[in-house]
């Protein structure tokens, strides 16, 4: 499969005209399957002013299998696991919803959108999701605090 050709094309497009608040580069110039993404916290979110290091890994079956997205920078968010992995798995990132014609740009935009609009019903961190639903103020406070501590 022409997976290298497809990946290079996407990388070029993303470098030349990056989506808002997102910059990408290869983690290691010799490996097109591991990407380093810097994601800026959206203005409307408690992550604002934070710069999050996000790792994007492409499986060898890409684009027939979806990429995986994980936050290397600690983040307080219902849809990101609060462990050293910082993984995120929902929507188009799930194997059964992924389409081979879906693009990495869309994946990254989806992930950034999730910072402004968490999806507590599909949470991986139940406690944060509860707080997000019942005590929004406190959630935003903690998220801001973590952003200041880890992402600035």
């Amino acid at each position: 499969m022409g997976s290298i050709k497809r990946i290079s094309k996407e990388l070029t497009e993303l470098t030349e005209s990056p989506p808002e608040g997102i910059t990408v580069e290869l983690a290691d110039e010799s490996n097109v399957y591991e990407w380093k993404v810097i994601m800026e916290g959206p203005e409307s979110s408690p992550y604002y002013n934070g710069k999050f290091l996000v790792k994007l890994s492409l499986p060898t079956e890409y684009p027939f299998k979806p990429p995986t997205v994980s936050f290397a920078t600690k983040i307080y968010h219902p849809n990101v696991t609060n462990d050293e992995k910082g993984s995120m798995c929902l929507g188009m990132l799930r194997a059964d919803e992924w389409k081979p014609s879906s693009k990495i740009a869309a994946v990254l935009q989806f992930a950034r959108q999730l910072l402004s609009e968490p999806m507590p019903d599909d949470a991986v961190e139940g406690r944060i999701a509860e707080q997000y639903k019942n005590d929004r103020g406190r959630y935003e406070e903690v998220a801001r605090e973590w952003t200041r501590k880890h992402a600035c």
């Binding site: 499969m1 050709k5 497809r6 094309k9 389409k99 014609s101």
Partner: protein, 602 residues
């Protein structure tokens, strides 16, 4: 799609033999079935003179099932005038409820097609093409000689990518009916014509296999035979809501006999739900019952349950301070000087106490009575295989010893099969009887049971005779075999008919609670039950399944459970909580650890 859920939801609904009040809307399903019946499914069901406990069914092999699908697609094609590959998608989406689909399509064609994953464009035929200036969105290859394919939605990809995508869905993900166009955000379902054009014969076969699986799963009247590696499916019209009245035993071409309702091995005459309850009860009770029976006794004065945890026979009740002897249950003071050594089993106070003890244990003993008989027949059923092998050996040696021909010794095989079948039936009659309240019909049932059991045991006895005597017993064995079969048919027929007229079997329910709690007057009990419990129906004198009889707890049974707890508590406090012994009596019926905990029974 209300009727889609019919199958699942019906399990816990309807005024079944436990008196559960149905709240489900079954009319939709019913309407639909009637309409569906209008379309002839060319069901050449096996027709013969049916006994009351037999149901109509037919056995289908995979090609039959495929033909059935094709037939239905063609019927709907003729009505809607859409291409067959699209109709197949539509039917799968609507779980093969033809009438409902046609109706929905007639009313809102566009929405129906969209929801099913079809567009409104039915032009063109499936073919691969070369398109000048094309670049594949998946692999980013281009070139004028690139072979490409697009479904009617127009999302075009190179054939290699399309193929890879379909292969992954079918082989790795086991998907068939819901494979979407590879286009980002496109929900069009891949049709079989596109698929056949693109993938290998092998994958096409796998795809059809998967579709057939979905088809059988979607149809309420179809079920796979549960025997390992069996490829047949059974077509039977018995609906889930009929299961409280009918026990639909079916027989596959592979000879496996199973219940169409629950897929367990044949369990006539006991209805599915009762079988489920019984199996659960056996699981829950086996340890509790054995432990209680071996390790506890009730204080003869106040009835609290007392656990013996040391070797000493001198027991003092923690509640009422009554002192008695563990061995003979008599007053400790009467033991005189024979401390720690009971030798007065015959004394009167001990005898009286023991009979009280026996009474308070009757509930447990009642269960054990039925359980032991059930387990005994089950055990014998497990020996069936040995028995059969033994039979074959006997037949061979009988042949050589007596000079009888193979045909002539076949009676042993027949007898052995009858034995197996009768034991299977007997086993379930005991589970069934456990749940029956005493009335005339129960007595008839038990008479039938007794007759069959006696016949079975005497046949079994003959069967064990030495080979040399078997030839002489041939006529007797043949007679006994015929008699066993006859008794079985009578038992099953009588029970099936009574079951069909549901109300005649009064299943233990509230009556059980009243008995357990020693409520002496039923009037008193009923007015109380009524005032406390919303699940109690004064007309049928039944309650929705009792926690210790239904076993498991789910979100669905939770409110019923809460209600029953208040019923039990209410009855307890009504009777005056003076004697904690009342609680310990509940313990004996309360198999569920949760109920025990909730009733504060330590």
């Amino acid at each position: 799609m209300d009727s889609d859920d019919d199958f699942m939801s019906d399990v816990s609904s309807q005024d079944d033999f436990l008196g559960t009040q149905g709240s489900e809307d079954e009319s939709l399903g019913e309407d639909f079935d009637d309409l569906d019946a209008g379309f002839s499914d060319d069901k050449d069901l096996i027709k013969h003179k049916k006994k009351p406990y037999e149901v109509e069914f037919k056995v289908l092999d995979p090609p039959d099932i495929e033909r059935e699908q094709v037939g239905q697609v063609n019927e709907v094609c003729a009505v809607l005038g859409l291409p067959p590959e699209s109709v197949a998608i539509l039917l799968r989406f609507g779980r093969w409820k033809k009438e409902k689909l046609i109706e929905s399509y007639m009313e809102h064609p566009e929405e129906t097609l969209e929801e099913a994953g079809l567009g409104s464009n039915f032009e063109g035929t499936a073919k691969t093409e070369r398109v000048p200036g094309f670049m594949c969105d998946i692999c980013c290859e281009d070139g004028d000689d690139l072979e490409t394919y697009a479904m009617r939605c127009g999302h075009r990809f190179c054939v290699d990518c399309y193929r890879h995508y379909l292969g992954q869905k079918i082989k790795e993900e086991g998907e068939a009916a819901r494979i979407q166009c590879p286009g980002d955000g496109c929900n069009r379902i891949v049709d079989y014509k596109s698929l056949d054009l693109l993938v290998t014969k092998e994958l096409q076969g796998r795809y059809r296999e998967l579709l057939t699986r979905t088809y059988v799963d979607d149809k309420e009247n179809l079920k796979w035979c549960p025997a390992p590696n069996c490829q047949y499916a059974i077509d039977c019209g018995v609906k889930n809501r009929d299961l409280r009245r009918i026990v639909p035993t079916v027989r596959c071409f592979c000879k496996h006999e199973f219940c169409f309702g629950c897929s367990l091995n044949d369990h006539q005459p006991a209805p599915c739900k009762l079988v489920k309850m019984w199996l659960q009860k056996c699981e829950d009770d086996s340890e509790t019952a054995n432990w209680i029976s071996a390790n506890t006794k009730e204080c003869t004065k106040c009835n609290s349950t007392i656990e013996k945890n040391g070797g000493c026979n001198h027991m003092t009740c923690r509640k009422c301070k009554y002192e008695f002897c563990w061995m003979c249950m008599g007053l400790w003071s009467e033991h005189g000087t024979s401390w720690y050594n009971c030798n007065r089993y015959e004394e009167k106070s001990g005898a009286d106490a023991r009979s009280a003890q026996a009474k308070s244990r009757s509930s447990l003993e009642r269960y054990l009575h039925y359980y032991n008989r059930y387990a005994n027949h089950e055990q014998s059923a497990k020996l069936d295989k040995d028995l059969y092998l033994k039979t074959e050996k006997k037949m061979t040696s009988l042949q050589s010893q007596s000079g009888l021909s193979w045909i002539e010794v076949q009676f042993l095989d027949t007898a052995s099969q009858a034995l197996q079948q009768c034991r299977q039936t007997l086993k379930w009659t005991y589970a069934f009887a456990f749940y029956l309240a005493r009335n005339n019909l129960t007595e008839i049932f038990e008479d039938n049971q007794k007759d069959l059991e006696m016949a079975v045991e005497s046949l079994s006895e003959m069967f064990e005779k030495p080979v040399a005597e078997l030839a002489e017993l041939k006529v007797d064995i043949l007679d006994k075999t015929a008699y066993c079969n006859k008794r079985r048919v009578i038992l099953l027929s009588d029970t099936a008919e009574n079951l069909k007229n549901a109300t005649t079997f009064c299943v233990r329910g509230v009556l059980e609670i009243l008995r357990i709690l020693h409520v002496s007057s039923f009037d008193e009990g009923f007015s109380f039950a009524q005032s406390i419990s919303t699940t109690f129906d004064p007309l049928t004198m039944k309650c929705k399944g009792f926690p210790w009889e239904t076993g498991g707890h789910s979100a669905e049974t939770e409110p019923i459970y809460a209600d029953q707890m208040s019923l039990v508590r209410g009855l307890q406090s009504h009777r005056g909580s003076a004697c904690p012994g009342q609680k310990s009596r509940v313990l004996f019926s309360a198999s569920s650890p949760r109920l025990k905990r909730d009733l504060n029974l330590s």
